[in-house]
């Protein structure tokens, strides 16, 4: 029993990590919580479905295709909306909220009102050391781990990664050092939205996909990002692990009725004790400017 619950916690944390790391990266360069991220996750899941079932590509190819498509959508959003408004944080915030409201209305126009399941070749269960688990969840955990490894390497060890860190810390100073803010933002937006699509594609075979699937996970991913400490990728992963374990254990031992609320209760408690989150630095608590 405990083994299954821990495994479930890890697989929940894996999906949350993929969603919230994109959110944290985008927050780093844009300085705003991107409310459109959940809608992009939903869109990623449905495009995976379209490529997999309607176009007849394989599951893996479909996910890669969805990541590419969403990365492109991220670039278009950045070029047309976010970049022109880059100095105006609250207006940008409202635009992301508008996207969050608009996309769930778009989905039924294309894919109908029925919830759908993405067929996956990894749907069978396997036994690891006496623990019977779904292969899809194992695959999700492995993919999340490798993606996190790649992101860590990219952000910490490459020149572009250093540029992104620079923009996140102080965009003016970074631009004086010859870093192109425009380029860094584009790269981060593309990576972040592609990761949201990946998470959507991985969730599709486990749970049904529907127009409002992105709402709750977006709010939880926000909780994880703030919980871990804004501006800290490591904190973001830690936040997702905390939420994954809280959810799996409360769902198994307390009540499934309350399992979704724990993320927010934990966030509130942590913010009371440590306003800058578990691993955040004091000065990274960013201010939302009006204009």
């Amino acid at each position: 029993m405990v083994g299954t619950v821990i495994f479930n916690a890890l697989s929940i944390a894996a999906i949350y990590t993929l969603v919230s790391v994109g959110l944290a990266l985008v927050f780093g360069v844009m300085g705003i919580p991107n409310f459109a991220h959940g809608a992009l996750y939903t869109l990623g899941a449905f495009i995976t479905y379209a490529l997999c079932v309607q176009a007849g590509l394989g599951y893996i190819l479909a996910i890669i295709g969805a990541m590419g498509t969403l990365g492109l959508i991220g670039v278009i959003l950045e070029k047309s909306l976010f970049y022109p408004l880059r100095k105006k944080m609250l207006p940008t915030l409202i635009i992301t909220m508008a996207i969050m409201m608009a996309v769930p209305d778009l989905i039924p126009q294309v894919w109908g009102h029925m919830p759908r399941i993405i067929p996956s070749p990894f749907i069978q269960t396997i036994s690891i050391g006496g623990l019977v688990v779904s292969l899809q969840r194992v695959v999700s955990i492995i993919i999340a781990l490798s993606v996190m490894g790649l992101i860590y390497f990219f952000i910490m060890k490459t020149k572009t990664g250093a540029g992104i860190r620079g923009v996140a810390q102080d965009s003016e100073a970074a631009s004086l050092m010859g870093v192109s803010i425009k380029k860094m933002r584009l790269i981060v937006l593309a990576i972040g939205t592609a990761l949201a699509a990946l998470a959507g594609g991985l969730v599709g075979p486990l749970f049904s996909i529907y127009a409002h699937m992105g709402d709750l996970i977006l709010l939880k991913a926000f909780a994880a990002v703030v919980l871990g400490g804004l501006g800290s990728i490591f904190g973001c992963v830690a936040g997702c692990l905390v939420l994954g374990f809280a959810e799996a254990f409360s769902g198994a031992y307390i009540s499934t009725l309350w399992k979704d609320v724990f993320a927010f209760v934990i966030l509130i408690i942590i913010l009371m004790v440590r306003p800058h989150g578990l691993f955040g630095k004091k000065e990274t608590v960013a201010k939302l400017e009006l204009g």
């Binding site: 909220m97 409201m101 927010f264 966030l267 204009g291």
Partner: protein, 316 residues
């Protein structure tokens, strides 16, 4: 940008507002039940957005839990009137008091945090509140909601006049608050909190005070809503109405007196006008928001002010 100048409103301006108000006052005589309901809901949103303006627009703290206070007010008033059989004026007073207490208790720790962490923290508080409404069926009847809540008036028309009065009063009180020393200290906090503290503003108490005052408006609006609809459910108070109030604020013009009024008319009115495209009205609504914000990032009133001041500069 001028910020702290106290301007005496011109007599002609006041006359224009009074004229508009008179038109709004006779409107209920000409419309049917449903448009009247929409007009009443616009008044509710004017109260919500204007009071939120004090917290977001003037103090610079992006609160995402305004609908939670709206809900706390509604549930308090409804429960006291239903379970204890108290007269409605008393239950409304209790609603304001309870909302103020909770806002004070929440604001005290939360307002130490700023920016995005504050936004997400308050969002989390709003979500937890709705979960409490939903998951305590013995008290709140759960997702099905509370009904029947005793009503104030037997017809809907008096509610409109009540809410209109409340909305006008809110706008006037916000105007008054902003033009006092207290209001100027709010703006000082928004512009530079460290400096505000340095020149002697008790920033913590000022922030908690304005957060509580803003919540009290929402609480009273919620209380009236409960007796107006005679049925409330947790779904009315999720993060979406909080978002709507924020969107109304930004569309109309944040940090302006008339912005929330214009924004509320748009946010409540537009989805109704879009009824013919019911299936994807949120899509169209979202697109309209994006276009308005893209061309007028500081909202309609903000843009108008900018144009006006430009013309003044050229002619002067």
């Amino acid at each position: 940008m001028e910020k702290n100048k106290v301007k005496k409103p011109m007599l002609s301006k006041i006359l224009v507002y009074l004229g508009l108000l008179a038109v709004v006052c006779v409107l209920p005589l000409m419309v049917t039940r449903y448009p009247l309901h929409i007009m009443t809901m616009i008044c509710f949103y004017i109260v919500l957005a204007s009071s939120l303006n004090l917290i977001i627009g003037y103090t610079g703290y992006p609160s995402f839990c305004h609908a939670a206070f709206y809900g706390i007010g509604a549930y308090t008033s409804a429960l006291i009137a239903m379970r204890l059989g108290a007269p409605i004026w008393l239950s409304l007073i209790c609603a304001v008091a309870v909302t103020a207490l909770i806002a004070f208790a929440v604001g005290l720790p939360f307002l130490r945090i700023s920016g995005v962490a504050f936004a997400i923290g308050t969002l989390a508080f709003g979500i937890v509140t709705v979960y409490l409404f939903t998951n305590m069926p013995s008290v709140t009847m759960g997702a099905a909601g509370l009904r029947p809540i005793p009503v104030l008036f037997s017809t809907k028309v008096p509610y409109f006049y009540l809410m209109l009065t409340f909305a006008v009063a809110t706008v006037l009180i916000v105007y008054k608050i902003v033009n006092t020393n207290f209001g100027r200290s709010l703006i000082a906090i928004r512009e530079d909190e460290g400096l505000a503290k340095y020149v002697g503003v008790n920033t913590t108490m000022t922030k908690v005070k304005i957060f509580t005052i803003g919540a009290m408006f929402a609480g009273l609006a919620g209380g009236i809503l409960a007796h107006y609809l005679s049925w409330i459910a947790p779904a009315y108070f999720t993060y979406l109405p909080s978002f709507m109030a924020i969107i109304a604020l930004l569309l109309g013009g944040i940090g302006t007196i008339l912005g929330p009024v214009l924004g509320s008319i748009l946010v409540v009115g537009l989805p109704e006008i879009l009824r013919p495209v019911m299936e994807f009205r949120h899509l169209v609504f979202g697109a309209i928001i994006i276009i308005v914000i893209l061309f007028m990032p500081m909202g309609i009133v903000g843009k108008a002010k900018q144009l006006f001041s430009k013309r003044e500069r050229i002619s002067g």
